[in-house]
Amino acid sequence: MSTIDKLNLKSTLLEQFKTFENELNGEGKKPIHKIRQQAIQTFDGLGFPTTKHEEWKYTNLGKVLKQAYTFGKRSELQMADIQQFLLPNIPNANTIVFVNGAYEPTLSNIVSSEEVLIVKTLEEAYDTHESLVAPYFGQLTKTSEEAMIALNTAFTKNGIFIHVPANKVVEEPVLMYFITDTRTANQGAQPRSLIVVEQGAKATFVDKTDTLGENASFNNVVTEIVVEPNARVEHYKVQNDHAQASYIGTTQVKQAQDSYYANTTISLNGSIVRNNLNVALDGSNVETHMFGLYMLTGNTHVDNHSIADHLKPHSMSNELYKGIMDESSTGVFNGKIFVRQDAQKTNAYQQNRNILLSDNASINTKPQLEIWADDVKCSHGATTGNLDEEALFYLRSRGIAENEAHALLIHAFGNEIIEKITLEPLRAYLEQLVMQRLGVDLNPISADFE
């Protein structure tokens, strides 16, 4: 497909949609295509977000959009090409691999039985599981308000449908790799997933985004997750891509009564990273956890937007995001808690803590509460600071070198998030990454304290 240039990126994409439509052949008459057509119109109306949009106030996409990308080009990768991106020490796992936004069954490996875990392309699922796909696909996300979601929806092809039937437990974690091949040129990708975890079922998902090759990549990812009554979902996101990789990802979650959803997002590297995590607590007795750690260097810009939308009474949400900004990096946090009029007896907590380590780093944070019910307990807090002088002094006075004392404190700060990860090999892997970032081997020091 055609290359997109800076000046008329939007019109090129609109033009490209026509080519895309023609290549669909008979599929163009199916109901899924109606949704695509609506979405492209929405995108046409909205255009790319700019810093004038309140939701994009602190994230300027100019740097991403001024580059040229090829979108949706299929790439024939071998296992050897992607081996380097796979999470270590999780031998018994389901792997789902996307290359340039398209699901690649040949690189993927489903180890769970078909009674427990069903994985299909979205188009196929629209035929076989219409009752599960149609009510959710493109319905959970506010396509009409967010240009980037609309753009993803318009070009949905070879997206994925993951289904866990009622009362099934997927023992093996589902690892989803989003790989963009930029070895020959800049590459754009728009992967799309719909995950339906039915009543009483349980599953763990891990997302990891990586770029193969030195050129720039631009991922616009949308994931919709339906958590039915009494179901339990744990979801992790690992973002440690290279410095030319831009990422805009929306995770839209709808939770029914008595369900549990926990998300932990770890952002370590990238060019511009934007995470939208929107959870609708649409039932009573729902439990939601949102944790995040962004530990940034270089020119990396990470923007975490989250929404906990309490629609029904007696639910709780808990959010903790922590940021460590070094060099010229910038962090953005915007957490919203909505408590609707019906959602009495809601408990909602939100915290954002930040450390700035360099004179060129910055943080913009906007914790937000919007409450329409009176019998609720809601609070939020945000802090920005640097390392505690007294704690540093304590460590130095006990003979610990300055760089080691720094590392120890930063590690302790970040570890509050890392230790929330219950998937042990993933936790160990991420802790290792954090240690590498600190550049100090803390094990001997920690041993001294024990």
């Binding site: 380590l357 914790p367 409450i371 809601c378 609070s379 802090t383 640097n386």
Partner: protein
């Protein structure tokens, strides 16, 4: 709970007691806004050429601007051509003493509890009273004059101290700052001007009382306070308006300038007519208030008790430019019935070792919506900046809303910023504790709310603190049942 509810109902239904209208002869400009009206106002005030030019420039800029709509409030569109931009009690000549003031007007102020006569005799507060567009009288002028303090209406200041006005007007809030500031700059009619010379500590509270009287008018006053090196002033502002079915616009601008080691304390008790129980009528209170801590070690402190207005939209802000300067914002905002408030502050840290503190207490009842919106910005060079913000919301009933929109921006690694916010209702256990000890529910609510707002109320000068507590009681007690 029925008996309690009755008592509370009674309170919630208590009428706005400042709703009367005074029948005095006024002189107004025709409705509508045009370049001619701007010229008319300027001519009425016998202003120098530079002032007229400044107004016309602002008017031209206003024409280019569009009304902002990002705030979390909802109201019918304002027809700017349906407003009278100038209305003044008719007066024959310049007044030399209070005796010459229209007796009807004096009665008005007595009804409002601000007896200008009495103020004159007792030491305490110097008052500048502004009705509709014009400052009526300023008390204690001579006594303040002995210390070199200038406290007069803006119109007088333009005539008598043009060099000061010209130097500082629009310095903190430029004419094109925002839509309503531009409108104000074009058509502002009067307001207070205050200059405290070097090293002078103003011995009394300075106060302005604003009142909208004539129907169909908008009030556009402009206040400018300049505290020169090492001076101190505490300034109070109060406002009321008659009850009317129509909405009236109040778009004021307040500018504060604090030089080296100077301190300005600015307190507001805002009680404009909030509209009736169905949300009909009331004042639109769209005000731009901003202070600059221009010099080292300077301090600006805003305290506000917001109980009135149908729609409030204001953010008293501090630009902390001087090293070691301090900005403070204390606010209690109460909304009831169909009132809407979107208020908060901005603290812009520019200088080194600057400190700011924000304490905001929102109370919403009835069908009202109450939003806190604040910004704390630490610029790159503001080493060792420190901010502490606390915004609490209290909800009474399940039909109202409380919202918090803090923007925290740090570009310096030495910045320490803390923000916390909570939302809750008056606890059943707290009420039970009080009633069990023989305190009736109504007094219990008053007690709890006063305790909740205490941190802000204690910042108010004594005279206002009493008034503010009563206001809180009237505005609120009906809301828990």
């Amino acid at each position: 709970m029925s008996k309690e509810t009755d008592i509370l109902e009674e309170h919630i239904n208590s009428d706005y007691k400042y709703g009367f209208e005074t029948k005095i002869e006024t002189e107004s400009a025709p409705k509508g806004l045009s370049e001619d009206i701007v010229r008319f106002i300027s001519a009425k005030k016998n202003e120098p050429e530079w002032m007229l030019e400044w107004r016309l420039k602002a008017y031209a800029q206003w024409l280019e601007m569009t009304e902002p709509n990002w705030q979390n409030v909802d109201f019918p569109k304002i027809d700017y051509q349906d407003i009278i931009y100038y209305a003044a009690p008719k007066k024959k000549a310049k007044l030399d003493s209070l005796d010459e003031v229209d007796p009807e007007l004096l009665k008005t102020f007595e009804k409002l509890g601000i007896s200008l006569e009495e103020q004159k005799r007792l030491t305490g507060v110097a008052v500048d009273a502004v009705v509709d567009s014009v400052s009526i009288t300023t008390t204690f002028k001579e006594k303040l004059g002995e210390l070199g303090i200038i406290f007069c209406s803006m119109s007088e200041a333009v005539q008598d101290h043009p060099e000061l006005v010209r130097k500082y007007i629009g310095k903190v809030v430029p004419a094109n700052d925002n839509y309503f500031a531009a409108l104000n700059s074009a058509v502002f009619s009067d307001g207070s001007f205050c200059y405290i010379p070097k090293g002078v500590r103003c011995p009394m509270e300075l106060s302005t009382y604003f009142r909208i009287n004539t129907a169909g008018t908008g009030q556009f006053e402009r206040t400018l306070i300049v505290a020169d090196e090492g001076s101190y002033v505490s300034y109070l502002e109060g406002c009321t308006a008659p009850m009317r079915d129509e909405n009236q616009l109040h778009a004021a601008v307040v500018e504060l300038v604090a030089m080296d080691n100077a301190e300005i304390k600015y307190s507001t008790v805002q009680n404009w007519y909030p509209g009736d129980k169905e949300g009909k009528g009331g004042i639109y209170n769209f005000v731009t208030k901003r202070g600059i801590c221009d010099g080292v070690n300077s301090k600006i402190s805003w305290t506000q008790v917001e109980t009135g207005s149908a729609v409030t939209w204001k953010y008293p802000s501090c630009i902390l430019k001087g090293d070691n300067s301090i900005g403070e914002f204390y606010s209690v905002a109460v909304t009831n019935n169909y009132q809407q408030a979107d208020t908060g502050t901005k603290m812009i840290h520019i200088g080194k070792n600057t400190k700011s503190r924000i304490v905001s207490k929102g109370i919403s009842a009835g069908h009202s919506q109450n939003s806190y919106r604040g910004q704390v910005k630490v610029m790159k060079r503001a080493t060792n900046a420190r901010n502490y913000s606390q915004c609490d919301s209290l909800l009474m009933g399940d039909l109202c809303g409380a919202h918090t929109f803090p923007y925290i921006e740090a570009d310096n690694r030495t910045a320490v910023i803390e923000h916390e916010a909570t939302t809750s209702k008056i606890g059943e256990d707290q009420l039970f504790y009080c009633t069990q000890r023989g305190i009736d529910p109504e007094a219990a609510v008053a007690l709890i709310v006063n305790g909740y707002a205490k941190e802000v109320l204690k910042q108010l000068p004594m005279e206002f603190a009493v008034e503010a507590q009563k206001l809180l009681a009237i505005s609120l007690e009906g809301s828990v049942g």
